[in-house]
Amino acid sequence: MPTFTETAKATKKKRDIKLVGIDMYIITDKGIPKFDDIGPFKCEFISNRGTKVWPGFVSPDLLQVNWYRCRFMATKDVQDADVNTFLDALTKKGWWWSAAQKLWNYDGEAGFSKAY
């Protein structure tokens, strides 16, 4: 008789995974970053502490820290190698970043949250 763990592992469903973007976590004391397109990646929004600070309305009272989540979405089909090129370009432009999170669609559905 299978254990609960074995049964749980057996329930895994195969899903189609497609790379569609990158969340970059940028550290800067110079305010909200501004980006040109980098290769096939275009900045879609920037959030700070989970609140969208670009584009659109930002309360002047909003507390912002020096850590920004910058969402770059692919404008065409991309591969993992394109992410490496993107990271290299971003670093060469002088951006200091703490982490990168690839954004995938699973069976066509976004596997990542939107920003408030």
Binding site: K13, I17, F57, S59, D61, L63, V65, Q101
Partner: protein, 338 residues
Amino acid sequence: MGKQHVVTMLPGEGTGPEICEAVRLVIDASGVDIKWEYEDIGLDCLEKYGTLLPDKTIQNIAKNKVALKGPTTTPIGTGHKSANVTLRKVFDLYANVRPAKLIPVLKRPWDKIDIINFRENTEDSYAAIEHMVSDEVAQCLKVITWPGSYRIADFAFKWAKDNGRKKVWCVHKANIMKMTDGLFLDAFREVAKKYPDIESGDIIVDNCCMQLVRNPAQFDCLVLPNLYGDILTDLCAGLVGGLGFAPGANVGDGCAIFEAVHGSAPKYAGMKKVNPSAVLVSGIMMLRWLGEEAAAARIEKAMFAVLDERKHVTYDVGGTAKTDEYAQAIVDKMHAKA
């Protein structure tokens, strides 16, 4: 009459509109001069505006800087962001103030509960940073920042000082989450040094839950990160009689929104059946925030008297009165005492 206040009224959906009308009836009869400006929020906005929180509503709140909000419902598992969470983020309403005080007429097993919860309202695992990092693993980032932690602690200590409270507790899980909850606790301790007249302490969140159920009278003010605050504020509401009497305020440096924390009970919409007390006590909090202590005290006293008599109370507290009949009884009680 004194100064006129302009307040945004957000009736919400479901039973929200009938509740808010009852509350407005009571507040307007208290002698305070309020100009109400009605704006839309919630599920009913989806068809009309394509969003739960229209820009027009945001602009009106930004202008008035104070709002009274009825209940709204957040759709589960759809792509729509919660209107409540969006409001908190747009206006940076970082302090969720949730008092839990025994109402004499509601029989509870404790002699005294008088707790003020100060829930950090904008970060923690509510920062909306979630990813499916593989096809079988999801992660949610818990974001705790020094300034975010410092200001909620500062807000709580200042409130405690201004309101004659004795002790502020920091509720955390820093023994396990040493970086995130550790930072929250460090900021709390730093702030505590500024308030030598207020006693401070800290308690692990699971122990705090047990202590709240066993002996809630030992607690005065609690400062909590967002997730623990979400859970413990409802626990405290349950201790004193449930969400039907639980007031809430979301306060930032430039704006405050007062709201009930219960749902919109759509199945009762239009039946004038539900108890409007939670929005009413939130309105009382709002009046105090506006500096209208006399009107707040007048409503509070009349509400307690009506509850005590049990002649004109709603079904949830053993009566048969409609929402507006309960409100009218409070108004009559205020006028009778005048």
